[in-house]
Amino acid sequence: MSYAIEGATGAWEVVIGLEVHAQVISQAKLFSGAATAFGAEPNAQVSFVDAAFPGMLPVINRECVAQAVRTGLGLRAQINLVSRFDRKNYFYPDLPAGYQISQYAHPIVGTGVIEIELADGSTRAIGVTRLHLEQDAGKSLHDQHPSKSYIDLNRSGVALMEIVSEPDLRSPEEAGTYIRKLRSILRYLGTCDGNMEEGSLRADVNVSVRKPGEPYRTRCEVKNVNSIRFVMQAIEAEATRQVRVWEDGGAVVQETRLFDSAHGVTRSMRSKEDAHDYRYFPDPDLLPLVLDAAWVEAMRADLPELPDEKRARFVRDYGLSPYDAGVLVAEQATALYFEAVARGRDAKQAANWVTGDLFATLNRTGRTIEDSPVSAAALGRMLDLMADGTINGRIAKDVFEAMAESGEAPDALVEKRGLRQVTDTAAIDAAVAKVLAANPDKVAEYRGGKEKIYGFLVGQVMREMRGKGNPALVNEALKRVL
């Protein structure tokens, strides 16, 4: 057991399950024809069905169903050809009907698995219990008026996929990795954009603790955590709290809590005397959802290559390490970029440039790989210039920076700035001679046994040649003379 909470009575294992709510990418809502786009004026994307007006009825959106199936297929999960919708009944102003249409007993997707890669290079298979479709609720604003809450129903009725993991996670790191992996899969599939800041991906975290080898103890749910960092912090905070409760001789009470990020603690949600008796029953306004097996198979055939497959292929075909491949496939756009660069070139070199200089540049300029200042074609061309000896590695860094700034093509930049690598042995010899003459003490030290001085001398030669010396030839020349 690697991660543990150290208590007064010893080490405690942390058991974590995640319920992730992912907003489905679709034009219209799950049961109505109103739009789903983010950022509209309040109540501008609300139909009478979404607002639960008298006599209104739900009609299901085929694309939302398809997105759930694609996601299930991407999670290597069982697709249930027959599933059913149930009503989850409770009162809240952002839930106009007084019930949410969800799936309780018969979800559209059954058990699946998500593989996560940990920092130490190991992988773990995390079980997915189920995925079901349900309606999102509207939004309540509590800070606009001293005694009133304001309700915007734009989000009411948007399709959500609730993806429930088995309680297989054992550390905040694993939980963070799981969410990142799930988000990556969803983005590859195009079924959810995974944007936690905008709320299109939310996590409820179930946490319990136990002494190693024990059966599961009581868990608590921390609701609506909206960033991976907070998920990890909330797990640690809640697990710590629970350990303290147990060690103080008390018992953890099953309850719903919220994460107070400002103070780094979880808090109990009050006003829950009726402890959520949701009175689930099959929604009588809907019939069973029956999927055509051929339709499901067509979707399976149309799935894009998913992160795990792509990673395996990168390792196999490009000879990359699993770690490097993993970094490249996390975002589909990155993988596409990489392959455009790597095709027909040194893949490892391409990988280094992408994950090194390119990522650094993107971070620094706040850009994404989709609108990278350096295109894959440009980077690839630059690598070609290195491969054919036109420029060396040192100069390439300058070229890259210049490309990022100006958007110019590498060939043009090399010519314009005269960055061609120098291979003329006469010029190299001259430079070597000049440097050795200028540093007789260092030369003596080197000849006297101080091997490390060599690096200094090489650096000086390169400086003399304004970095353009061909490194191999420089080394050869220097060694010859020394």
Binding site: F53, P58, P96, Y99, I151, F281, P284
Partner: protein
């Protein structure tokens, strides 16, 4: 004019014997005169009606008469009518004006109908007497011979039935969840059909119990109902439970006769306490059908007696969820409170009547944690058995004939001391809702006090045609000509 039924009036309009405008004005006048006594209408819509009539006259002049062009109808106040207040008989919706038209009423408008107003009903369609309306009870236009006590018209579509019986409308829309079309038809001496579940769209009708509710017509004759149903019915993509079935010519089916049909008589519908008059009428009805060429077959529907209990679990359960949206937030009446929960509780306590509250609470209870299996789940299994009974029987017979109600109309105020007593009114009608099959009530006779008694015809899913054929045969044989004590065109005004 008031002696003509819907079919007759339609023919007269097409022959231009009178205009749609004259017809509508006559009905509006009758409503003005008699509605204060009967309280059949909650909202009368004279301007709207005259606009509809004007359009109808224009269509008639062009020779483009639709199925119901110019026919004045009452609309049960459970159907959302655009721009016209819709209350569901409840205080909680007293200010509600829907911005949309229900599919069924839109269909009627498409076919040229004229809307006279919104008919009274038991609150949220929950009741068998129209005594629970927040807008006052409805009085049955029929009275006991020599009696003065106002009688109930039945429910929940009491206002619709009373309006039709008193000739304050040529037909009315209604809904039937446990008998709310058929039982008032029986009490008011008119015809009414609950079609197969899914035959008419539920979009725009305030939902009571979604898996049971069905819209249907109330009218003076079986053929009138058939004419109205043709307009009301049809697949609606906005209702997921709407059946994609073509709409046949129901009126033509009324003329088929019953020769060669096998009519089932379910023995379990005969109870020990059945009033002799009703038993006698039942036998009379079967004799009429025998004479007309049908074979009468004894059948068994073993789970009949559990229909009511099943209904009074399933319907309240669905209602408790369907009525959660009446919370004072987006529409309807609100009663303020110190905080959100108080506002909800005050709004719903003030807005709902006693019967609605009882059913919402029962429904909440039977769905609640620990009780779902024992009540709701069990009830849905018994429901499956009720359906199975019908399915097996319909393999051998074409239709069933039973009484519609266990009594004639009773007095206002009776049977109100114990909710269960009121529920027993539905004993013959509820099984058809549980199974989703069509059921028609036909005016078949009068009891010793001169009050109407109806007979019920039940049929196979989507076989309303056979139901109409049998019903029309019974109606022909019964040949009733009696009119109620209060009716437009009658001396008593």
């Amino acid at each position: 004019m008031f002696s003509l039924d819907l079919a007759g009036t339609r023919a007269a309009l097409r022959r231009r014997e009178f205009s749609a405008r004259e017809l509508t004005q006559a009905y509006l006048g009758a409503i003005e005169a008699l509605n204060p006594r009967l309280n059949a209408y909650i909202t009368v819509t004279p301007e709207l009606a005259l606009r509809h009539a004007q359009a109808a006259d224009a269509a008639l002049a062009r020779g483009e008469a639709g199925n119901l062009t110019g026919i004045p109808l009452a609309i049960k106040d459970l159907f959302c009518t655009a721009g016209v207040r819709t209350t569901a008989g409840s205080r909680i919706l007293s200010p509600f004006v829907p911005p949309y038209e229900s599919t069924v009423t839109a269909n009627l408008l498409r076919d040229g109908a004229v809307f006279l107003g919104k008919a009274n009903l038991d609150e949220f369609a929950m009741g068998s007497s129209n005594m629970t309306s927040a807008y006052g009870p409805v009085t049955n236009p029929w009275a006991r011979r020599g009696g003065h006590a106002p009688l109930v018209p039945g429910g929940s579509s009491g206002g619709s039935a009373a309006a039709v019986a008193a000739r304050l409308a040529l037909g009315a829309t209604a809904t039937d969840t446990g008998g709310s079309i058929r039982q008032p038809a029986s009490f008011c001496g008119i015809a009414g059909i609950k079609p197969t579940y899914g035959r008419c769209s539920r979009w725009g009708i305030l939902a009571f119990a979604s898996s049971l509710d069905q819209a249907g017509p109330l009218a003076r004759t079986v053929e009138d109902c058939a004419i109205m149903l043709r307009s009301m019915a049809g697949h609606d993509v906005k209702d997921s439970t709407s059946a994609d079935q073509p709409v046949p010519d129901f009126a033509a089916a009324c003329r088929r006769g019953v020769k060669g049909l096998r009519i089932g008589v379910p023995r379990e519908y005969r109870s020990d306490g059945m009033p002799p008059e009703i038993e006698a009428l039942w036998q009379q009805g079967l004799a009429w059908l025998r004479e007309a060429g049908a074979a009468i077959v004894d059948v068994s529907l073993p789970h009949t007696k559990y229909g009511l209990a099943t209904y009074y679990i399933v319907a309240p359960a669905e209602a408790s969820s369907n009525l959660a949206r009446y919370d004072g937030v987006r529409f309807g009446a609100r009663t303020e409170g110190a905080d959100l929960i108080e506002m909800y509780e005050n709004t719903r306590a003030a807005g709902f009547g006693a019967e609605v509250k009882r059913r919402v609470l029962i429904g909440t209870y039977v769905l609640s944690a620990g009780y779902y299996d024992a009540y709701y789940l069990r009830a849905q299994k018994v429901r499956a058995l009720i359906l199975r009974d019908f399915t097996e029987v319909f393999a051998h017979v074409d239709a069933l004939v039973t009484p519609t109600a266990p009594s004639a109309a009773f007095a206002q105020g009776e049977r109100m001391d114990d909710p269960v007593k009121m529920y027993l009114n539905d004993v013959f009608t509820v099984p058809a809702n549980m199974a989703g099959i069509p059921g028609l009530s036909v005016p078949a006779g009068l009891d010793a006090e001169g009050l109407p008694l109806g007979l019920q015809v039940l049929g196979k899913p989507f076989d309303e045609e056979t139901v109409f054929a049998v019903g029309a045969a019974l109606e022909r044989a019964a040949g009733l000509t009696a009119v109620p004590a209060v009716w437009a065109g009658g001396a008593s005004r």
